[in-house]
């Protein structure tokens, strides 16, 4: 079960948060979910759903070996 969190950034901050699934830059509201004890940030619950349905079955083995772009 996830929850919405506001991103508060100072004007000088250049670091931008990307969705753990689609990679999109997230402006101000992020959908936070704990998966395997780790916090993951998504654009919205739809991306979380696809993470479980598509990303994990397709990429989890590869991810363990090389790390996906998000984990780099």
């Amino acid at each position: 079960m996830g929850n919405w969190r506001d991103i508060k950034l100072p004007w000088y901050e250049t670091k931008i948060l990307n969705c753990s699934l689609c990679g999109r830059m997230i402006p101000r509201k992020v959908w936070i979910v704990r998966i395997d004890g780790e916090e993951r940030e998504f654009c919205n619950p739809d991306c979380e759903k696809l993470y479980h349905e598509y990303w994990l079955p397709t990429h989890s083995k590869k991810q363990k070996k090389t790390g996906n772009a998000k984990d780099n």
């Binding site: 250049t14 670091k15 931008i16 990307n18 699934l21 689609c22 990679g23 999109r24 830059m25 402006p27 101000r28 509201k29 696809l50 598509y54 990303w55 397709t58 990429h59 996906n68 772009a69 998000k70 780099n72």
Partner: protein, 623 residues
């Protein structure tokens, strides 16, 4: 019971689209720079309160796919509480949900009876926004700060009044502020017209009717697109291709896609693409998203209303830190022009395994971006111009490729020679289609163009960003590849054409910045031809004869590639039927069977890297 049947719904759709068309006409007629008035490098949309597209003009697809994301970011960053009637907001920042920096979005909230109805917006390629190169297209940029002025979502107008400090700051940082002034006002003018027309529509039909109709239109588009996706066989389809270099080093860059079709949804996953590169061919996420929308929508019914509903069945995965999702401060100006086309073709080549009859062979694959700037000898004023040229598109199952067409993600027009010469110091000596540039096929690839300019001013600064110098557009199902592009210079007094890399000592012949040319120099642009579709030996000989008569195909190619023997007597061309039958039989017997899907692609067990090396080798072998 809904007030809407299909006719009522599509009538509303047409009314909304009509408003967008009028917005576009205002921009075209009132803009100062040729990239708007002639190139039509912009789009116009109506958005609902959530920044979903309700209606749009079919001008520049890459912007249409992007603008909803850019507008959503704007609303989220500014906050609706800070947006009031009469405000006009501008935003171009690649690292806030934007495209490359020249793409400026301007949007205006539409309040009706004090309540927000939605937004009207446009996005346009502003021709000069500062940075290291005139025309703001630095092919060797290594960070975004070299590419021009970044604007986060800020107000150009507040409650109907100019925010003068913002205008002054922007005008100070652009080389041609007068053009920017005119173009921004063209954009704002188009928004004002749209606001007025929307108010009229609401007055006639009622707010509730328009809002419900807009929701239903998006649902309708989503349903129609889902139905079309369901027709594609479920499965996973994979493709790899390369960008030739990034303007900074000579290394090729891999792009990779896996397209998963499952029921009525499609997932386009770019995992495997190269890490982001130093040069400006990186794409922002929004640019990659546009790629996906363009590719999928180009395969489906063109009469599906183009709105945000049509995007719902499409999922996109673009890993951050790669060439398809650049992270700050990576440069990205060419991601929007040249990488984007390649990515569209990449998705199409993956789907050619599932729906071969809907896919084109490889298209030109370069916008052939050509920029000039300097101080005009007649006016003493700084000037700058960004222009592009058409290329050949790939042949399809049903027809030949188009000749001299601006790539599909841009859908723009070239500048007429008369307009160009009236404003700038380059004289056009030649502008023609290139004979034999279309890949041979049952349906031939479209032809590229050749253009020669003579420099007429004492000094002009040139920047360029081309691709397809090394890898040719591929043929499909037995069709042959199209031809490469090139960009060369003959300095005054020189006796041969040379690359800019050779003359100016740049690392890339296709991508360079700020080369100064002088009076009497000649510049030669050649754009790529498209790949052919299907076996050229199956092409109707009469069509080959027509191509020869038109000068599209040479007599030699007619015989060598199509097996059609044509004789010329008394200035008349005729097919020698008997010789043609014999030649086609001979060619069929001489070639390996079966015909591969692509004219290049790994054979079973062969590494994709071997093919990559062969592609480059082929280029050097063929000279």
């Amino acid at each position: 019971m809904s007030k809407f049947d299909t006719v009522a719904l599509l009538t509303l759709h047409n009314r909304l689209v009509n408003i967008c068309e009028e917005m576009a006409l205002v921009m075209m007629k009132t803009a100062y720079s040729t990239i708007f008035s002639e190139g039509l490098d912009f789009c116009c949309v109506i958005l609902n309160k959530d920044a979903e597209i309700i209606a749009e003009t079919e001008y520049t697809p890459s912007m249409i796919g992007a603008i909803t994301h850019t507008a959503k970011w704007t609303i989220e960053e500014m906050g609706m509480d800070n947006i009031a009637p009469g405000d006009v907001i501008i935003h171009n920042d690649s690292y806030r949900g934007g495209c490359h920096l020249p793409e400026h979005m301007i949007m205006k909230p539409v309040f009706l009876d004090g309540e927000l109805f939605g937004f009207v917006g446009n996005m346009g390629h502003v021709a000069e926004i500062g940075g290291k190169a005139p025309g703001s297209f630095a092919a060797d940029a290594t960070d975004i700060y070299q590419e021009g002025l970044r604007l986060p979502p800020i107000k150009l107008m507040e409650k109907g009044e100019y925010v003068k400090d913002v205008w002054k700051m922007i005008m100070t940082n652009h080389r041609t502020p007068y053009n920017t002034w005119g173009d921004f006002h063209a954009m704002i003018g188009s928004l004002q017209v749209a606001e007025k027309r929307l108010a009229g529509l609401v007055e006639r039909y009622g707010r509730e009717y328009i809002e419900e109709g807009s929701r239903l239109l998006m649902d309708y588009s989503a349903r129609r697109l889902r139905a079309e996706i369901e027709e594609i066989p479920d499965g996973t389809y994979h493709a790899i291709n390369w960008l030739e270099d990034d303007g900074v080093s000579a290394e090729m860059i891999q792009i990779e896609v896996t397209v998963t079709v499952r029921g009525d949804e499609v997932i386009v996953d770019f995992t495997g693409s190269s890490p982001q590169v130093k040069g400006p061919i990186n794409c922002t996420w929004v640019v990659s998203a546009s790629v996906v929308y363009i590719a999928i929508l180009s395969l489906t019914d063109p009469y599906i209303p183009r709105n945000s509903g049509a995007f719902r069945p499409i999922k996109i995965i673009a890993p951050p830190g790669t060439v398809v999702n650049v992270q700050h401060p990576g440069p990205c100006v060419a991601g929007n022009t040249d990488s984007q086309i390649k990515l569209i073709d990449l998705i199409l080549s993956a789907l050619s395994q599932a729906i071969p009859r809907k896919i084109t062979a490889g298209s030109g694959g370069s916008s052939s971006n050509f920029l000039i700037g300097g101080v005009h000898p007649d006016t003493g004023q700084y000037y700058s111009n960004y222009s592009f040229d058409g290329q050949g598109t790939g042949g399809t199952a049903f027809k030949d490729g188009n000749d001299a067409e601006i790539p599909r993600h841009g859908n723009c027009r070239n500048s007429p020679i008369e307009v160009f010469e009236g404003r700038y110091s380059l004289l056009t000596l030649e502008y023609k289609l290139v004979n034999d540039s279309g890949g041979p096929g049952r349906n031939r690839g479209g032809l590229g163009i050749s253009r020669i300019y003579e420099v007429t001013a004492p000094e002009v600064t040139i920047s360029a960003l081309f691709d397809r110098f090394k890898i040719k557009p591929w043929g499909l199902f037995g069709g042959k590849e199209g031809t490469n592009s090139s960009l060369t210079i003959k300095k005054k007094g020189d006796n041969r054409w040379r690359t800019f890399a050779e003359v100016y000592g740049r690392p890339s012949a296709s991508k360079f910045t700020n080369a100064v040319v002088t009076k009497g120099d000649l510049i030669h642009i050649v754009t790529p031809g498209g790949g052919g579709f299907g076996d050229p030996l199956d092409r109707n000989p009469e069509l080959v004869l027509e191509d020869v008569k038109e000068g599209y195909v040479s007599l030699e190619s007619a015989k060598r590639d199509y097996g059609v023997v044509i004789v010329k007597t008394n200035k008349m061309y005729q097919i020698n039927q008997e010789a043609t039958r014999a030649e086609r039989e001979r060619l069929r017997a001489a070639r390996p069977e079966p015909i591969p899907l692509y004219d290049w692609w790994p054979k079973e067990g062969e590494s994709i890297n071997v093919v990559r090396e062969q592609l480059i080798g082929r280029r050097s072998r063929s000279g």
